[in-house]
């Protein structure tokens, strides 16, 4: 564990009793008190996440917009200042380099892009390569990961907790929007985004203020039940909300259309890397679909890479699975051949060599009811 990268909060996690693991080369907390308890805390109160392992890139210069239009799938031109969108970087064959969030800076000047920890080096190399190929564009791509701290506060009590530390009326920040705001006197970018299926915020701050903001949030949030949350619950929360995890639901071998992420692919916006491949896939129809399922008999917990069968024939693989803490059922996502996909249709999940009956269900598995 000595060779792992550390966020400024590593010591805090250890003090809080976290179980620390190697996550994508980072020394990160997988759980503090237990995944199920932490999961329920986020669903019913609020949780605080250290996301210091995530990467951040700024894209600026007169041609920032055409450059991002060319390297990402979603329509950057549709973003108003302070607005954010889910998007992807693609390979020319339509496979996914990474899934990302693109924020148009609230000033209207330039973009802020958040990328996955496991893909940071690969993404930076990919962006540099595309940047070099497009010498016609006047654009600056800067890796700001080392100077950017990232925290998330997620759950129904998030707004009332964060509001105690900022003069900006958080009610004015809509879902998938961001604003510059002082949080406890520190200038931050505060975004109403997240990876849990709950209301909440992601906060980007100068890295040297991360520990103090973490401490202050836990302090003012304690009466409302705010607790630190590890990566274990982050995974069960995002799975219930059917949010994709790079490497599981999407990868170089799985296209956005197969993964049901067509909403983030603007085929009509003009040329972008991977567009031709996706346009062809769309015209021909995808061969595989990502579907949600739940087990309807005992037999274990579905896990990543478990085989999926119908009538004894292999039709795909589980991409993610767990025992849903909210539903108390064994749920999962699977990438299966198109002709077996459909809500209500059966699947067999092969667990330790034995078929366990499952039925396809609507996703997300969990949807919050307050908004």
């Amino acid at each position: 564990m000595e060779n792992l990268k550390r966020t400024p909060l590593a010591e805090r996690h250890v003090q809080l009793g976290a179980r620390m693991v190697d996550f994508a080369g980072w020394y990160m907390p997988v759980q503090y008190r237990g995944i199920v308890e932490e999961h329920r805390t986020v669903r019913t109160a609020a949780g605080l996440f250290d996301l210091g392992h995530m990467g951040q890139v700024t894209v600026g210069g007169p041609d920032a917009e055409p450059f991002l239009q060319y390297v990402t799938t979603n329509d950057v031109a549709a973003l108003a200042p302070g607005e954010a969108q889910y998007s992807m970087l693609l390979y020319p064959d339509g496979g996914v380099v990474d899934d990302i969030i693109v924020y148009r800076c609230p000033s209207g000047d330039g973009y802020f892009v958040v990328i996955n920890a496991a893909n940071t080096d690969k993404d930076l190399a990919w962006l540099a390569e595309q940047r070099a190929k497009r010498a016609d564009l006047d654009v600056t791509v800067t890796n700001v990961s080392d100077r950017t701290g990232m925290l998330a506060i997620q759950g129904p009590k998030s707004q009332e907790i964060l509001q105690q530390l900022t003069p900006v009326d958080l009610q004015t920040i809509a879902y998938f929007h961001a604003a510059e705001a002082e949080v406890d006197g520190v200038r931050c970018l505060v975004a109403r985004t997240g990876y849990t299926g709950e209301d909440g915020f992601e906060i980007y701050c100068p890295i040297e203020h991360t520990v103090r903001l973490w401490d202050r949030l836990l302090e003012v949030g304690a009466p409302a039940g705010l607790q630190p949350i590890g990566l274990g619950a982050r995974d069960t929360l995002r799975l219930e909300a059917r949010m994709p995890l790079y490497g599981n639901e999407i990868s170089a071998e799985i296209s956005p259309l197969e993964a049901g992420l067509g909403f983030a692919v603007a085929l009509d916006k003009g040329d972008f890397i991977g567009r031709d491949a996706l346009a062809r896939q769309k015209a021909e129809g995808v061969r595989r679909r990502l579907v949600g399922f739940k087990l309807v008999e005992r037999g274990g917990v579905p896990r990543t890479h478990y085989e999926v069968q119908v009538d004894g024939r292999t039709v795909g693989l589980v991409t993610s699975g767990t025992t849903s803490p909210t539903l108390g059922e064994n749920i999962g996502l699977a990438l299966v051949e198109r002709d077996v996909a459909g809500v209500g249709k059966p699947l067999d999940i092969i667990i330790r060599g034995k078929p366990v009956r499952a039925v396809q269900v609507r996703t997300p598995f969990y949807k919050r009811t307050d908004k």
Binding site: V30, Q31, G34, I35, V36, G232, T236, R298, G300, V301, R303, T322, T323, P325, N330, R352
Partner: protein, 131 residues
């Protein structure tokens, strides 16, 4: 800090054994349940099943991971705890008491001598897990 119950014998795969005559009651240790986290599924051998020391006899799954349960001793399963199968979280709450898993009529009670006592197991866990 994982708790190690006195008077039991332990395996390196974190099962415990309580011996009464030629019957061994088997469970998993507090260290095991704490490493696995929230336990959501158990698969235990049916009464009548013959198990062999060191071989897998069941499965325990948590939100995080799946793991085999190994037979600490050889013999015939005479009882499996159906209550814990229906409420697997009992393993987290009470690994040494309510969450016993199976009772095995031992074919060779001397196999117990090869298992660690509480003191040796505690040292083993401290070395392995830093728990």
């Amino acid at each position: 800090m994982a708790q190690v119950a006195q008077g039991l014998r332990y395996t390196k795969t974190h099962e415990w054994v309580k011996v009464e005559g030629d019957v061994a009651t088997v469970g998993v240790s507090d260290f095991a349940q704490s490493e696995l986290g929230d336990i959501t599924y158990l698969e235990l051998p049916e009464p009548g099943t013959r198990v062999t020391a060191g071989e897998p006899m069941g499965v325990i799954e948590s939100v995080k991971a799946a793991s085999d349960i190994y037979a600490p001793v050889s013999g015939e399963v005479i009882e499996a705890n159906s209550e814990v199968v229906d409420s697997p979280e009992t393993v987290n709450a009470s690994p040494y008491e309510r969450a016993w898993l199976v009772k095995v009529r031992m074919s060779d009670p001397s196999e117990v001598d090869a298992l660690m006592d509480a003191e040796a197991y505690e040292a083993f866990v401290n070395e392995e897990g830093g728990a």
